[in-house]
């Protein structure tokens, strides 16, 4: 009886809600990237206060099921209105072009806005090739190297805060950590092809060349993989993370490894009480031939099928506008994917965070400003064109072959040859199927 009553009252409230409000509801598909849920919730509350006619239904989906849920909604004909995404490529045919709404909202011409806003070239790429704005770069994570200050003190090493800081120096620091007994391992390194590719670029390698051929197996690539494998051979990195599947962070948390190769998204996590019980810091990524730090922007995009394109575009533009983006980045230690904000720099409003971000941003700027083909290679490999499609779709093969090299079933050269021939074959398939 009680249950029936509860159900009835729930239904009643729902009916009343629909009947008495003139609000429009925008569904916003979202995944978290660290402890950012409260932040987005508060920003949405801010927006709803400014626009009482708009209600944002935040649909928080576990990341591991995000692609599945979103593709089901899209192919089932009821996509959300707005989505957070790691990449525009899969959504290029269903994304809303917000170009028509930009000028009235921002007062800038579309060209001007694209130039000012685009912190990473992917938006410019889409604008140049299709004259459309399909989603706005939101924030970016950059790879970062964290370290355990207590263990570094024990091993009597000072962490560098400036470059040049080379692989050789890095390796001898690692050996010192392990030999001094400060920790069982020197480094824990996240098991993703993306994280590993920093080494590839630092060695001067690349995945694809200008002609769309996979050249990951050139001498630079082999050098990167051989170096990585040698760290395992010397027991400086725990095998469990790569040969097994243990989360890399666990080895940093429990003090078994003194350095943690990850990214800026770990910063809010690390700053939270109870995550680690030691002092931590951050240092520039070591370099080989090149200073390279990979960054990955996230985008916010709307869907063509929405009933309210104007409201969708406005919300997207508001969320990525300079003041709001600044708030977001301050709370999360994120890097704005906005050209102007990157130039001006953000005051993170907290001395600890400011000093951490200072190191990361300096490193990032150095990487993007000097040295030959970087970051053009990176964009071809991961962000734009068919080459990026292949990398993003078949990266598990790269991870698998790296593991093969670590566990010794292949030499680094064989492993990368395998990746190259597999990627080239997929590229050939892609070309024949799109004809």
């Amino acid at each position: 009886m009680k249950r029936v009553f509860v159900i009835l009252s729930v239904l009643l409230v729902a009916v009343m809600f629909v009947a008495f409000s003139q609000q429009i509801t925008l569904t916003f598909a979202y995944f978290t990237d660290g402890p950012d849920l409260p932040v987005i919730q508060s920003l949405i509350a801010q927006y709803e206060q400014l626009h009482p006619d708009v209600k944002i239904n935040l649909l928080n989906i576990p990341y591991s099921d995000y692609a599945q849920k979103l593709s089901t909604m899209i192919q089932g004909g009821t996509p959300p209105d707005i989505a957070r995404a790691g990449d525009i490529i899969p959504y290029q045919d269903v994304a809303l072009n917000i170009a028509p709404y930009i000028t009235s909202f921002t007062g800038e011409s579309v060209e001007e806005w694209v130039k000012n806003h685009s912190g990473f070239t992917s938006m410019e790429y889409w604008y140049d090739t299709r004259h459309e704005v399909l989603g706005i770069p939101w924030d970016a994570g950059a790879h970062a190297l964290f370290y355990n200050k207590d263990e570094f003190a024990k091993a009597d090493i000072t962490a560098p805060s400036t470059t040049p800081w080379t692989w050789a120096q890095w390796e001898s620091a690692m050996e010192k950590i392990v030999n001094s007994g400060a920790a069982k391992y020197a480094l824990t390194y996240e098991k993703t092809s993306y994280r590993w590719s920093n080494l590839l670029y630092q060695a001067g390698g690349q995945i694809w060349n200008e002609n769309g051929q996979c050249v990951i197996n050139n001498p630079e690539g082999v050098r990167a993989l051989s170096f990585f494998v040698s760290l395992f051979r010397k027991n400086l990195i725990p095998e469990s993370v790569w040969v097994g599947n243990t989360p890399a962070f666990s080895y940093f948390q429990n003090g078994l490894a003194s350095m943690f190769y990850s990214g800026t998204w770990m910063i809010p996590e690390l700053m939270q009480k109870g995550t680690v019980n030691f002092k931590w810091g951050v240092m520039p990524l070591p370099m080989d031939k090149v200073n390279a730090v990979m960054t990955g922007p996230k985008v916010i995009l709307g869907f063509k099928s929405t009933k309210y394109p104007k409201q969708v575009a406005e919300f997207m533009l508001w969320l990525t506008s300079k003041p709001i983006l600044t708030q977001w980045c301050q709370k999360l230690g994120a890097i704005p994917a906005n050209h102007q904000l990157l130039q001006e720099g953000i005051d993170y409003g907290n001395p600890e965070l400011n000093s951490v971000m200072q190191i990361i941003l300096t490193d990032l700027n150095k990487g993007t400003q000097v040295q030959g083909n970087w970051p053009a290679n990176f964009e071809r490999d991961w962000i734009v064109g068919n080459t990026a499609v292949i990398t993003q779709t078949y990266y598990p093969r790269l991870v698998q072959d790296i593991v093969n090299a670590i566990s010794g079933t292949m030499t680094p050269q064989q492993a990368l040859n395998d990746v190259a021939s597999y990627f080239n074959q997929q590229m050939a398939n892609l070309k024949t199927s799109s004809k």
Binding site: F31, T32, N60, I61, M73
Partner: protein, 272 residues
């Protein structure tokens, strides 16, 4: 004397197995009270001094968990009633009648277990949309209620009931429905109890089906809410573990309540 040796042996064996089966779960429960930095502690800490309820409090307040538990309860109870009813009927038909197409129907149903649901998610979504079952309790309750496992379970149980029971009833002029209702159902208490426990567990723990059906946080079930603790790069263990432990409690309660019914006493009276 011999009896007591055997009894000691069986008890010792039971407790060894208990240790092997339960120790990992004990570790899980213990860890749900640990601060995050101790989750992977090295060396592992059997007893840490800094156990805390903070995880539970933070996790419980990180979302509208009373609502999620309530949604799960509504779905689980309704769906389980439906599951027991239709599985009993279908299992009875498959166990006690020989009819054209029976085996084909049986194997079709059973083989659907082998279709990875993820792969047919999109067609399922479209069907649900056409039936206006998206974002509704009905969509969470009705489709998953038909489970091949449940039907198979009932069928196998009923197969072992002697056919004479039914033949005698038919000679006495009982209708088929009456046979089902007054003879089969009362004899099926153990399998009904088993199926109830399983169905409660399946529906309560179901993740994929709610993921397809629900796109509105007001209708989230506990499992969908648990999923929200996993982000792109990290899993919030100090939120996920306490809520996992809490979410197991209803299943344990149902298990304890229904397992009394395994103990029959029914059978002995009916076959003479």
């Amino acid at each position: 004397m011999k009896k007591s040796v055997k009894s000691i042996f069986l008890n010792v064996l039971t407790y060894i197995l208990l240790f092997l089966f339960f120790f990992p779960i004990f570790w899980l429960v213990l860890s749900s009270f640990r601060p995050s930095y101790d989750l992977y502690a090295y060396p592992p800490k059997l007893l840490s001094t800094d156990l805390t309820f903070e995880n539970y409090i933070n996790a419980w307040t990180s979302g509208d968990f009373p609502l999620y538990f309530m949604n799960s309860a509504i779905v689980t109870v309704s769906s389980t009633i439906l599951t027991v009813a239709i599985s009993m009927m279908a299992g009875f038909a498959l166990a006690k009648y020989k009819f054209f197409g029976g085996n084909v129907l049986f194997w079709t149903m059973l083989a659907t277990l082998m279709l990875p649901l993820q792969v047919i998610m999109i067609p399922i979504f479209i069907v649900l949309k056409n039936f206006h079952m998206l974002n509704s309790y009905l969509g969470l309750i009705i489709p998953p209620a038909a489970t091949p496992t449940g039907i198979f379970l009932v069928r196998q149980y009923l197969v072992s009931l002697p056919n004479e029971l039914i033949e005698f009833a038919r000679i006495d002029g009982a209708s088929e429905w009456r046979i089902f209702w007054s003879i089969i159902l009362p004899l099926s208490t153990p399998v009904i109890a088993t199926l109830t426990i399983f169905s409660v567990m399946w529906r309560w723990n179901d993740f994929l089906w709610p993921l397809i059906v629900i796109s509105n946080e007001k209708l989230y079930t506990v499992q969908l809410a648990l999923g929200m603790f996993s982000g792109q790069h990290t899993i919030n263990w100090s939120g996920l573990l306490p809520m996992t432990v809490l979410s197991m409690i209803p299943i344990v309660v149902v298990f304890i309540a229904f397992q009394r019914l395994f103990i029959k006493g029914i059978y002995a009276g009916s076959v003479k």
